[in-house]
């Protein structure tokens, strides 16, 4: 079945005359019919597919898109009731680039509401399920994209990553997820969560596809003033067989309490594989690691509370009815009703926290302090990358947890991002790769981080690792 192939495999098959876009789509649709009722990876399946019959690079290969990225004429709801009927009037820059290269936009994937979460449970459409164990979460917030790729309901997908939202679900679903350097990929048309942290990136079945997809979406965009005017390289050209001369740092702060023993063991074995290929290792210290979650939840909620102010029921989305008894007037009452009924619990919680840390009298104590500790976290990485090519850590402290397990305890949910958050705060690229399974057959992920705009270093190490391990070829048994 062609739906289980990677994009680069399909391109080879098409070239050899052994696959066509029609057959890919029919295989994909029949797979979706069978497994989607179990996995629920999609927020919106395409109603009617626009065939892209052109002989360009991607040959009409379909791609699934996270529902916070605008695709013209399709819903973009961020899995929130407040945007339930929002139809995007334009394409995000990444979508324009994909279409230009001949990709077919195929379905919008489920996510935590406004990307607020690590489990896909805060979606207004209900939770997506982990294809490896349907009682467990796929991770989040790009859980729909990761689950769709893992379940072969998508060839590849785009996600977005603000604190780990591409890498953590990739880890929990045994697929590859890359968060590019801040500014590597245009954010134009990505519905903003935290503008100084957000990046769009690939979720794929292997490293080759991640590189191929980054090739398409990377690069300067004048519509996003934070997009870096630095030329991108051909990321598929950095694959090598051995890793002689590659220096990898192991930060001791990532291997302490809270790290599951099986995860630790898998990461240790991954290290041994890389060592055999010629990489050398040294323990280093990233001393401000323990403050990352605190810094993140101040900065991310502050930026989110500001970004979400636009959802006021005036220009688009859901509008609440003003209450006659509200003394603040009809207009203000309309705002409050719209936002009170339109946002889910986690979105409200973050708006309150973000507004609080920015409010008069608390700004210096929380927000400004967090920005300064962010500098220290960034400095830690700058120092390490003077001597090392990559940093190696687990992606998530545990394998997939059960649906409902952490929903009532926001702090424990926030701590599931403990290893991924620092990359966003420092603006550096990071990739998650499958590196093993627990004894209960739950995927474990390995994270590699590199200096800004050095994605090629991540691809080089990841590709060599993947060529020498079986993990990315494993498929969940969905009993269909």
């Amino acid at each position: 079945m062609l739906n289980s192939k990677t994009a680069h495999e399909l391109l080879d098959l098409i070239k050899a005359g052994k696959a066509s876009q029609d057959k890919i789509l029919s295989d994909l649709k029949s797979r979706i019919d069978k497994v989607e009722p179990k996995v629920k990876a999609y927020a919106h399946l395409p109603k009617e597919t626009d065939y892209v019959k052109q002989d360009s690079l991607l040959k009409g290969i379909p791609i699934a898109i996270k529902d916070n990225i605008c695709t013209k004429g399709q819903l973009a709801t961020c899995a929130s009731r407040i945007l339930e009927n929002f139809s995007a009037p334009y394409d995000a820059t990444v979508i324009e680039k994909l279409k230009e290269k001949g990709a077919l936009i195929f379905g919008k994937t489920n996510m935590d509401e406004f990307a607020f979460g690590s489990s896909c449970e805060t979606s207004c459409y209900g939770p997506t399920r982990n294809p490896w164990d349907l009682k467990r979460v796929p991770g989040g917030s790009s859980g729909g994209s990761a689950a769709a790729v893992a379940a072969d309901e998508a060839i590849w997908a785009l996600g977005s990553d603000t604190g780990g939202s591409i890498r953590q679900p990739a880890s929990l679903c045994a697929v590859v997820g890359l968060k590019p350097t801040y500014g590597r990929v245009s954010r134009y048309g990505l519905i903003a969560f935290a503008s100084s942290l957000d990046q769009i990136g690939p979720i794929t079945k292997d490293v080759h596809d991640a590189a191929l997809l980054l090739n398409v979406i990377a690069g300067y965009d004048k519509k996003d003033s934070t997009c870096a005017d630095i030329p991108a390289v051909d990321y598929t050209s950095c694959f090598t067989k051995d890793l002689k001369g590659v220096k990898i740092a192991i930060p001791k702060e990532y291997f302490i309490g809270g790290l599951d023993k099986e995860v630790e063991e898998s990461v240790k074995q991954a290290k041994a594989v890389l060592g055999k290929l010629g990489a050398t290792f040294k323990e280093v210290s990233l001393p401000h690691t323990k403050y990352a979650v605190s810094v993140y939840y101040i900065i991310a909620t502050a930026e989110a509370s500001s970004n979400l102010a636009r959802f006021d029921g005036v220009q688009y989305g859901f509008r609440g009815k003003p209450s006659a008894s509200d003394k603040s007037g009809q207009m203000i009452s309309m705002y409050k009703q719209t936002r009170g009924k339109g946002f889910g619990l986690e979105a409200k919680r973050r708006i309150i926290l973000g507004t609080y840390v920015l409010s008069s009298g608390y700004y210096d104590a929380y927000y400004l302090r967090a920005l300064k500790v962010r500098t220290l976290i960034k400095n830690d990485f700058d120092k390490v990358f003077k001597d090392f090519d990559c940093v190696l850590t687990p992606t998530s402290p545990t394998a997939a947890f059960k649906i409902g397990e952490r929903l009532e305890d926001p702090l424990s949910m926030y701590l599931s991002d403990i290893y991924t958050i620092s990359a966003n705060l420092a603006g550096i690229p990071a990739i998650s790769l499958p590196c093993g399974f627990t004894k209960d057959k739950l995927p474990i992920g390995l994270q590699l981080l590199s200096a800004p705009f050095k994605e090629e270093d991540l691809f080089k190490v990841s590709y060599a690792f993947e060529q020498n391990t079986p993990w990315h070829k494993m498929k969940p048994d969905l009993k269909v």
Binding site: F86, S87, P89, Y182, G183, S196, K222, S225, T226, A228, H288, Y291, V293, S294, V295, S305, A309, D312, G313, V314, Q315, Y316, G317, R319, G320, P322, G329, Q330, I332, S333, M334, K336, Q337, R339, G340, F343, K348, R349, I351, I352, L353, T355, Y356, S359, Y366, L368, R369, L371, K372, V373, T375, L376, K378, P410, L411, Y414, L425, A426, G427, P452
Partner: protein
Amino acid sequence: MNISKDTVKYVANLARLGLNDEELEKFSVQLNDILQYIEQLKEVDISKIQPTAHVLDIKNVKREDKPAPSLSIEETLSNSPQKEGSFFKVPKVIE
């Protein structure tokens, strides 16, 4: 550090966010937990540290002041909950 129900109510009003009593209660407990955790930042010496609002080197981004294609009025209004002519319609603002 203590966030009372009244503080949550005050902040919710700043954010124009309607919350019911149950939510006010729940958030005041949960936000206290989160803020207590965040307190750890007080132990860091930040006296000589500059804040990072943006990780890349920032430079001014300028462009020519030339008109370019943008959304039509119809497209702009296409998602509006209520419209009249070429305007978004809202409840009465001035009594």
